[in-house]
Amino acid sequence: MKGILKKLNIKEVNAGACSGQGAWYEDPEGKELVSYDPSSGEPIAKVIQATDKTYEQVIKQAVHAFKTWRMTPAPKRGQVVRDLGQALREYKEPLGELVTLEMGKIRAEGVGEVQEMIDICDFAVGLSRQLYGLAMHSERPAHRMFEQWHPLGAIGVISAFNFPVAVWSWNAAIAAACGDTTVWKPSSDTPLTAIAVQHICNAVMADHGLQGIFNLAIGRGAVVGERMINDERLPLISFTGSTQMGRRVSEAVARRFGRTILELGGNNAIIVAGDADLEMAVRTILFGAVGTAGQRCTSTRRIIVHKSVAKELTDRIIKAYEQVKIGNPMEEGTLMGPLVTQAAVEDMMAALETAREQGGEVICGGHRLEDLGEQFVEPTIVKMPSQTKIVHNETFAPILYLMEYEDVEEAIRLHNEVPQGLSSAIFTTNLLTAEKFLSHEGSDCGIANVNIGTSGAEIGGAFGGEKETGGGRESGSDAWKGYMRRQTNTINWSKELPLAQGIKFGD
């Protein structure tokens, strides 16, 4: 552990607010935050959280830096992001391991998360030469009409524990290419990965003579989070978290006419049709439901299976679950680590109790694994008689609900019945069924897949969902537009002043 921390510049006690190299801010009034290893329960290191004073220092730097950053040509901004991607390549292993150490996902997923950061940097570098606006034909003679995309400002990024570094990079790399600066409030469960990333950013910024492009303010949601969402100097808040918190963020930011990108809860289902390749479906379900211990926004939480194959699929999934090696996420061969906190374990156990009360039958798992540590649990499958209230809730844990259907219309109805709308999938070999699922009357999610699962999205697509998932889009495709302001321009190069719609006024 000490080797990882040393490589990443993590000290026993770390300042929690920063704007660049030599600009770590620490207030003696700042409260200590201890980061724990969820596998052992042992403390890893401490952070002095941002106070009103240090938060203010960070914001001022971010706003100040924006004024020059926005005037830096976008391809030059791309060079800084390119160097950030290169630096992340150098730190890929230790940073990935710190992700594992601090939040408990297995090492392969931790390192994979850093690869995702590298990928989005590469994407943003290309994007820095492609911030295109449209040119429109004007209805007025000798007029030219077009649109430009301008940088927006200092952007607030509030991220969650489950992807402690990748989600920041989806926002920060794109925002930087777009000419924005960012202020990051990471989850209080994963402050050290944020400090490690800030050190990497600081070195890259210093190489370019920059400060304040990437900024950090670690603190409780009720303190730093509330400051950010009510701060008029942050024209956009990108928030990843629960629907309940998203509603609070959305209301606060809307009150000041700010913008939000909300990536909120998911309740992701896979429909397994009677003609599906069950071997592929089982492997996918295992990864989707057990990967990251069921703590991804896109984790598979519901299986809606055709009754003709329900028994066979269930038997195969149970068999696969029984093979899952649970334990130290750093060890080779482990497929599932601990849950992030003891509170998360309590939440899972409460959900299982409710599911039983609502007629659910736990057919696999369902227990704590205290021999391994206080935060280890069994991945669990619950057969539900119908889609009851508990199934409509997202429980951030490895609980998989199984339900049966008779025809595809019923499957889609069940699929869309929940309030969330992030990710979805169908396993079928029937082209017509697949197309129906992707059609206007099919899945109502932001992500809909055929013969691949609900989780493991690539950075090239826009990531986000509908309904209570919040409607925001991050990462690839044209999600960059959310980080810029659109300006429509018309230039008259004639000696006349014709009005639009042919209006005559005082001629």
Binding site: L264, D347, N393
Partner: protein, 77 residues
């Protein structure tokens, strides 16, 4: 050591100090943890939002529950 919980206790602090509160409150229809993260509000705000009519009584029960769980954990050691 006394268990110090009031309407003003933040949910972030509550679930960190007393994670067992999560399952107790969840059974009363009050969910402190969403997407694996504690809500930012106070316990009082959350209880009000979830329509709990006698929040002080609920807090008394919660404190008692935490005390019993603590005793059980001590006993099993």
């Amino acid at each position: 050591m006394g268990i110090d919980i009031s309407l003003d206790t933040s949910i972030e602090e509550l679930v960190e100090r007393y994670p067992q509160a999560v399952s107790f409150l969840s059974r009363r229809g009050v969910r402190c943890i969403r997407c694996g993260e504690p809500l930012w509000c106070t316990l009082g705000e959350l209880l009000r939002e979830d329509g709990i009519e006698n929040p002080h009584d609920l807090i008394k029960e919660l404190v008692e529950y935490i005390r019993k769980r603590g005793e059980q954990a001590e006993g099993s050691k």
